[in-house]
Symmetry: C2
Subunit: 431 residues, 2 copies
Amino acid sequence: MINIGIIGCGTVGLNVIKILQKQRNNIINKIGCNINIKWVCDKDSSRLRAANLPKEKLTDDLKKVILDPEVDIIIELIGGTDTSKNIIIDALNHNKHIVTANKAVLSKYWDKIFSLALQKKLSVYFEASVGAGIPVIQSLNEGLVTNRIQSIIGILNGTTNFILTKMTDENMNFNQALKLAQKSGFAEANPALDINGSDTAHKLSILASIAYSNHLPFENIYREGISNINPIDIKYAKKEFGYVLKLLAIVKNDNNEISASVYPTFISDEHPLATVENEYNAIYIHGDSAGDIMFYGKGAGGPAAASGVTSDIVCLARNIFYRTAGKFSYVSYNTKLNLNMKPIEKTESKYYLRFTTVDKQGVLAKISGILSENSVSISACFQEQRHKKQSVPIFILTHKAKEGNIRKALKTIDSLSIIKSKTVMLRILES
Amino acid sequence: MINIGIIGCGTVGLNVIKILQKQRNNIINKIGCNINIKWVCDKDSSRLRAANLPKEKLTDDLKKVILDPEVDIIIELIGGTDTSKNIIIDALNHNKHIVTANKAVLSKYWDKIFSLALQKKLSVYFEASVGAGIPVIQSLNEGLVTNRIQSIIGILNGTTNFILTKMTDENMNFNQALKLAQKSGFAEANPALDINGSDTAHKLSILASIAYSNHLPFENIYREGISNINPIDIKYAKKEFGYVLKLLAIVKNDNNEISASVYPTFISDEHPLATVENEYNAIYIHGDSAGDIMFYGKGAGGPAAASGVTSDIVCLARNIFYRTAGKFSYVSYNTKLNLNMKPIEKTESKYYLRFTTVDKQGVLAKISGILSENSVSISACFQEQRHKKQSVPIFILTHKAKEGNIRKALKTIDSLSIIKSKTVMLRILES
């Protein structure tokens, strides 16, 4: 019998308990031993009661769980960073294996957690931290282990994907779509970490750290959110070019220079990622041998996240039962490998630009001149007929250009008196 | 150092050698030990030479490899069933772990192979047997282990998917598309096992055997191939209903009754599987907790298959190095679990029917009457204007109906003198 202590009894915790009870016989059949929930710990007594377990298993005292010598695995499900980091470190120091669904803590304390786990010969599993029930962590870590990972492109946040889907399919603006997401349970009351790309970047940090065998910190990931997205651009790019806008996490390895970013990006509607709608997530990986591989599924929600957490628990419990747990590090971790980061200015992309200009002759010539001076070459251009409005939009698509060049060009252009408001710049994914 | 013996030096074998050489440092870094190719065995000396390895590693003598006490893992890459079964059994009896990419042998000898592996405390890994480099075997076996798998729907054969894609997108007929597939290297000279659904059924047998913890033999899978598909039906269903035709492998668990089939099936063009084109494969799994999960990637080709094979080798080598290999069975295997199979006649589906009838009044009434007598209810119907041709088509879509009923109805209808040729019946996937 393997004893576990669950810390944090919210939606995911309750679903973990439910699955372990429902699948009890299946688990015994598959791994040969029983998994016993010895403790459920939460500060909120109403959440504890919801667990519907015998009273002696419930506690609000963390120490009781972590210090219990009979507990083999600590399941950290409280979220956040600092308290959960202390729990994980404390539990490792008391020789407990760890399962966590917490992307923020791993993204921030990757080094600390995995070096201690390595030293203590303990395992830290974290399947549900990215893509909830999608088995992408194990796949990247083991199934694609012999591939040089050339790129990972992910739709990793259900909230923003839901909002962008509604803006695309139902012509909503950002605020309308956000409200619907909140009403439908796909966005929290304070959605800032989702909307500004931080949650996506935490997850990208984890995927990249696995792919490149060293910590790629959150701070090294360039981020733009979706709160400024104007439906005009979604509508226009869809109609004219068949583009769909997605908040993408992108990490690329160009000759051992790694670039990592999160920003709203146009993709062709024929790209497999274009069909990933609403709260769904997907991770599109290019390995040098396997080629393009995509993982798709629900990226959030209690049952889906609990599917990932319980698969980790079962895997670890089996390893503990057969005394193989911690004999080798689950995550390959090599601090000697320096990740050589490429700054955003040096990355290249195709760009979508929308200029808001005064309705005057010569404006297009001026703009295209400045783009050209900065080595940005135009692939498509559309200007509406002049119609004596106060301002008119000019749409430009560029060939591949350096981000540094486009930024310099836009800075010059936006300072001109013919420009009425800040130019919209969105990147286009090459497929 | 872990020693391996590769048996079969075709495209996959050569790519396995290439990857192990190219990724040597990466592998040592990840698992702490080196993987040494001790033997490459093939009957064809020109294939051996292509391996470009020192002469003393090359042999045409199977026994030399299997009997070598220094060899830890046998990599079986010769394909087929009986010879490869003998190699695997022989190698297990000589205490070698196994990696294989051979779906046919596993599908046929699942019981024999896994019961012997269990008894000998050895591991048999087979990631590349389904979907080549897509890590679906490990994901189903471990990542989704706490899910009750309600259905698996797969596009598992690149040849047939390539042919159907060309028939759909480029209006080719079956023979034209097959020739193009052969010319492009996506179909073998003798493509029978691909075209008739057998290869797909072998792979479904493996996926289902993992999902339901017992052998689901090839013979228990109902099969229809694609050689009789008429472009008329592809064109019509796409134009009128937005359907796309795919050769699907489907296993379902309805209240512990398992149905398993392979047949060409219409799916909505909005289903994630509809975007899987040409030689790509995908596996769409519904788990009770994880929800809908899809795995997508190249299902064939040397590098992609070798990605799967080498990930197995690395995993096994690491387990051998840390002395954890074979401590527990990789595949959960319980002969006491009886799979309760539901015969095809009892399964339910929506159906697409095309009748070829004489151009006479009352024909539609007659056909719909017989369908109704057999409890088959019509959801859509289209009959061209009568135009004094020798025969006219009538298209009918049905609501959900029992396969047994539809077969009975079609048998009666096809015996009528108003029917000019065998009625086309294709199933429609519910989404």
